[in-house]
Each structure stands twice: as C-alpha cells, then as structure tokens.
C-alpha cells in the first residue's frame, strides 16, 4: 500500500507509523518494568 502513495502521503504515513511504533515499544518496556517491580514488591511482602 505504501508503493501506491504520493510522496506527501507516504512521508506522513510512514512518520506516523514509526511514531506509533516507537510509542508502542516504549509502552511495552514500561509495562514490563512495572510488572517486574510489582513481582519484586510481592515477593518482598511474601517474605515478610
């Protein structure tokens, strides 16, 4: 579908998708970090 676009639409579409992709990757990293933190705090409270 990218092959059929005009350069203006192509630029915007690709830029938007890369932006969303980056945001998505960062959100996944944060989710993973908070899961690790939660499991750490759970194990701490269990040991208490």
């Amino acid at each position: 579908m990218l092959k059929k676009m005009t350069p203006g639409n192509f630029n915007w579409f690709l830029h938007s998708m890369l932006f969303y992709h980056t945001r998505h990757v960062i959100a996944k990293q944060e989710e993973r970090a908070s899961r690790v933190n939660n499991s750490d705090s759970d194990s701490d409270s269990d040991s208490d």
């Binding site: 005009t6 350069p7 639409n9 998708m17 932006f19 969303y20 960062i26």
Partner: protein, 644 residues
C-alpha cells in the same frame, strides 16, 4: 407507562433514600435481560405434570445476586428499612431483592404470562430508540480564548435553517441528523467549531487559519460525517497493528458496523477513513510535540499531510524516541586500557565463534580492563543500528530530479519537466516530438512497443506487477533479473535508457535503537550509498552529545572508508563514535577486507572493545560472554515489509 406510576412503584417498594442512579440501574437491568425474565416467568407456572412452581427461583436469584454485588453489597440503599434488620443473612437479602425485581418486571410488563399461565407473547429485545439521547456537536470552548477579547462568551449566530445536520459515529453507533453548532466571538470573529478554531490571519484579508484542537471529542471526516475519537483511534491502531490500508479498514468497518445499521447509514468511504487517520495521527503527534497545529483554511487532505509533515515531521526524527534510554540500548561504561582510540583487534567475534562462548571471565577482562579505569565516571554506552529497506514512492523520472510527479495517475515527470519534456520522445537524449498516443518518436517506436507489451495487464510481468508479486518466479516466465547489488560494494551509476515510467525512491533508511525504538528515518532517492548514510547520520546526530558510541551498519566498513576519505571521520565521528558491522556481515567479510577485520568487529573477543561484550550465564550456568547489543533490529522487519 407514565412516569407517575413508575415513581409511585419505586417509592412503595424501595428505600425512601434510593438514588436516581440506583433506580436507573434497576430499570436497565430489567430491560437488558429479557431472556432471563422469560426463563424466570416460565418457572412461575406449572404447565406440565411434575413441574414445581417457584416464584423466587434460581434465575431471578442470580440476577439479584449480581445487582447486590454491583451495589457493593450495600442493601440499605435499595431496600426498605422494614425489609432488613441487624445481622440479616446475605441469602435473605438476595431473596428480598429478587422479590423486588420480580415485582418491577411485572410492573414494567416484562412478564408475558397471564394469570392462567398462558404465554401472551414472547418477550422481544427492548429497543432503546425512544430513550436515545439527543446529540449535538458544539465547540468545547465556552468563551473566546483570544487574549484581547477578555474571555467573551461565544454566540451561536447560524440561522436555524442553515445549521448543518450531519451523521455522527459515536461508540460505533450511527446517529443521523445531528446538528453541528459553531460559536463566534463577536469581537475577533473567530469561529469555534468542535474540532478546530478558525481565525482571520493578521494583515491578510479573507485569509483564515485553522487551529486543529488536540482535545477535540469529535472529528469531521467528511462533508457531513463526524466521528468520535474512538473511531479515529481505531483506524490508526488497525493500520499499525494489522497493516490495514484505508480500503481494507473501510471494508471491515462497513461489514462489521455499517451493515447492521443500514437503515440509518449507507457506507463509509476510503477517503473518509484516510481523513480519520490523518486527523487523528496529526493530533497525537502534535500532543507529543506539546503544540497545536495551525494550517491555512480550506486545504485539501493531501495538502494537510504535506503541511503536517513539514511542521511535525522534524526531518524524519521521531520525537517519541527523544532522550530514550533503556537497558537494551544503553549499557554502563566499561573502561579500556587503550584510552578509547582505534586499536587493532582480533577477528574473532563473541557469540559467533563457538569456542569463545566458554571463555573464562578472567581471561578476557585481564587484557582489557583495570580497576583504576572502572572507577572513572563516564557516560553510558549507547548503540544505534542503521538499516535500509528497498521501497519508496514514485518521483520524477528525469535524471537527478526527485520532485513529486505532476499527478499520480500515469505521469512520469514533475511539473517542470512535464513542461520541458512532456511532448518529447521519452527515450533518453532524444529531442524528437513523440507520436500521438505513444510515448516515443518514429525512430524509437520499437522500444516503446516492447515496453508497452511488457507492461500491459495481459502479459505475465504486467500481471505480477498488478498482483504485487514482482519477485515470484514461475517456470513459464522468462527470468530477466538485474544483478543484485552487494550491500558492501559501491553502487554503480545506473544509466536511464528511457522515461517511459516514473522513477521510484530507492530505499527508506532507519536509525533504530537495539530495543526497537525508531530514532529517525529518511528516503534515499537513488542508492543506499555511504555518502547518503553519513549525511543522514550527521543530520540526526548534529551535536556531539547526541552521538552514539557505536553505530552498527551492514556496510560500516564502506561508510568508514568514505568518512576517512571525505574528512567527516576526523571532523565529526572520531572523537565520539565507532562504526561496526553486524555479526553476519563480519564473519563473511573479515577474511578479505583488512579494514573491516581491524576496525568493524561487532564484538571483539580479545578485549579491545569491552563495551561491546557482556558477561552472561550459559544454559549450564557457566560464565560466558555475549554481545552487549542486539544488532539484528530494524523497523522494517515488524512493519514496513508487511506494507510493501
């Protein structure tokens, strides 16, 4: 049923302090569960021998239990004081609520049995059409926000007959004839709409600017279609997650939601889906840039994308990745004895050459690190991966011109070259006028006919082009492939034989962090040349602080060679950055390229670059060394390949 009758019933059967929300909860619980009420009603009559009558049966008790849980197990807001007492058991409360619900169902005429136990009529799903709310699209601002106007109230100046009635898609439900109201400041004449504000340009008569509101609840996507942000977000997410085109999403939405509401709405079009994508993505990126985008009034959608890219595109730098650092793409600095200058390394690669996997820790670090150096306070080590994928949009076919085509329905030149060469024969260096209905002069008709035959739909190459499978090889199709360009050799100059078709951008180059975050992207019109890569890197990392410590490129040795030759190595990179190749490239190239072997090893096993190697445990728990960064990352693997 009159409201008075309903009100009296509630007062008589429920707590005197019952809130409106609890009453509405009870009412909608009844209207939402006609099937359960039918099951409950049937069990209240014995129509077959052996059937037991049960007025408070399990069906209604389960509904009662669900209501009780919904009310946070607080029955006092629902039941009369006489219906409960101190220490009442929970099952008695549930039976009490079940009795009330049964009475309410009968009062609402949702029990369709007569006194003899005969079914009057089947209970149909309850329609909410009559109690549907009236929707009006109006501006979010309630006063003029222009500083000179002193927060004046906004006037609704449109005459009743001129107020547009539009279709609104909200929560994927279609509402017809929704009025769109616009506010006007009597002082500055700014028009406040639900998704933008239109104001006159300073010193320019009859020129207006639209400020696109990031917080808009509804967005206009067609002449008389507005959608909520749920819809526009879904379009963008579908395009990202499913790699759906605007046409594919249009089909999906029309089949899923449009068809079930055909009585009120015909169809969503591809253009409206594209408009929703542009409007939503523009606002999302503007929010991240902490700004609201302002464009000239009455721009076509293609103009809006161009303008939005020029304002928010930032030359391909992705703002969401700004200052990003995580454990995958940033490591703590490990000092070296070589004071960070280029030193010759072994050609062995950690993680690739199997015998090195088990190298004891002390053997590797003893040659490279010292405790004194480890104490030095250094910035963390960063790496980025540069990679390209061969695809791109069309541009002018004329040599050394990459301007937009005059149109994208068969044109091959930009506006300038169309004027100068449009009437001429499209074979290179031929100035003859082309013959009508062909693209070549008399002399070059044979070339044109050959091209036209190969590109018409009936021919196998033409068919493959239409079905978007140009690389498919079938036994009956003659192969006439071009020699593939090795990635670590300079790109030869290609000569244009003719201009029968438009040219295409050669590739899209991306800079990614090893974790997958995209830092920047650029289009290369002709080749993924080292000069283009160096220019791209210089543009993105224009300050010394922003430069990564390592840049991994599959042709890093070529890039390094070019940088040394054109002086950018000494001028820009030497102080801060090293170019390394990926492991796959290195094992194939180290034997025949001394520069690659010496300077571009992605993880030297001799300890000359300890920041590229980390300590890890293997499956047996034994200490070994692995590459510190993932070099096999590229955005194209996850998104672009699926869209080309």
């Amino acid at each position: 049923m009159t409201f008075l009758s309903f009100s009296q019933f509630i007062q008589k059967n429920f707590s005197a302090n019952i809130s409106l929300s609890t009453v509405l909860l009870m009412l909608f619980t009844m209207t939402e569960n006609p099937d359960l009420l039918s099951l409950h009603a049937r069990q209240q009559y014995s129509l077959v021998k052996g059937e037991n009558i049960s007025s408070v049966n399990s069906w209604i008790k389960n509904l009662s239990q669900a209501v009780y849980v919904k009310l946070n197990r607080n029955a006092s807001i629902l039941l009369h004081e006489s219906d409960q007492y101190e220490g009442i058991a929970e099952n008695l409360i549930i039976i009490n609520i079940a009795n009330k619900l049964d009475k309410l169902a009968q009062h609402l005429d949702l029990i369709k049995y007569n006194k003899k136990g005969q079914l009057k009529s089947a209970l149909k799903p309850v329609s909410y059409k009559a109690i549907e709310a009236v929707h009006i699209i109006c501006p979010e601002s309630y006063q003029c926000v222009t500083s000179e106007c002193g927060f004046r109230s906004l006037l609704q100046t449109t005459k009743q007959r001129d107020i547009p009635l539009v279709t609104l898609v909200k929560n994927n439900t279609i509402y017809k004839n929704v009025p769109v109201l616009t506010g006007k400041c009597p002082n500055c004449t700014t028009l406040y709409s639900a998704d933008h504000e239109r104001s006159a340009e300073i010193d320019e008569e009859n020129h207006f600017t639209n400020l696109y509101l990031n917080s808009a609840k509804y967005i206009k996507i067609g002449q008389s279609i507005w959608v909520d942000r749920l819809f526009s977000n879904a379009v963008v997410n579908a395009m990202y997650s499913f790699h759906a085109s605007a046409s594919a999403y249009m089909e999906f939405w029309n089949d899923s939601f449009g068809k079930t509401q055909q009585d009120v709405f015909h169809k969503m079009s591809r253009r409206q889906i594209w408009q929703a994508f542009v409007q939503e993505s523009m606002r999302t990126i503007a929010v991240s840039a902490d700004m609201e985008i302002s464009l000239r009034d009455n721009l076509a959608i293609d103009e809006i994308t161009k303008e939005a890219f020029s304002i928010l595109g930032e030359n391909g730098v992705i703002r969401a990745a700004d200052q990003h650092a995580c454990s995958e793409c940033t490591h703590e600095y490990i000092g070296t004895t070589s004071d960070n200058t280029l030193t010759a390394g072994s050609d062995a690669v950690v993680g690739v050459d199997e015998d090195l996997e088990q190298t004891p820790h002390s053997d590797l670090t003893s040659a490279s690190t010292s405790e004194d150096v480890m104490d030095v306070d250094k910035a963390p080590v960063k790496m980025v991966v540069v990679d390209g994928i061969c695809f791109g949009p069309q541009h002018c076919a004329y040599e050394n011109c990459s301007d937009d085509l005059i149109n994208y329905r068969g044109a091959v030149f930009c506006a300038i070259h169309e004027q100068s060469h449009g009437a001429k024969c499209r074979v290179s260096n031929c100035d003859n006028i082309k013959i009508r209905e062909t693209q070549a002069c008399q002399q070059h008709q044979q070339q044109w006919k050959k091209y036209a035959t190969q590109h018409k739909r009936q021919s196998a190459p033409g068919f493959r082009r239409i079905t978007q499978r140009p690389s498919e090889s079938l036994p009956w199709i003659s192969t006439n492939r071009q020699t593939e360009q090795p990635h670590d050799e300079p790109m030869p100059e290609r000569e244009h034989k003719n201009y029968f078709s438009a040219a295409r951008f050669y590739c899209v180059e991306t800079i990614c962090a090893p974790c997958g975050v995209v830092i920047a992207w650029a289009k290369f019109p002709k080749a993924e040349s080292p000069t283009n890569i160096l220019a791209f890197l210089e543009n993105v990392f224009h300050t010394e602080e922003s430069r990564p410590d390592y840049i991994c490129i599959d042709k890093a040795c070529l890039v390094l060679r070019t940088a040394l030759r054109n002086g950018s190595w000494n001028r820009i990179w030497e102080k801060t950055t090293r170019f390394i190749v990926d492991a796959y490239h290195y094992i194939n190239h180290r034997d025949d390229d001394e520069l690659c072997k010496k300077w571009c090893n992605p993880a030297p096993a001799d300890g000359s670059a300890p920041n590229l190697v980390v300590e890890a445990k293997d499956k047996k728990g034994k200490t070994c060394f692995r590459r510190a960064f993932n070099t096999q990352v590229s955005f194209d693997t996850c998104f672009v390949r699926n869209n080309t």
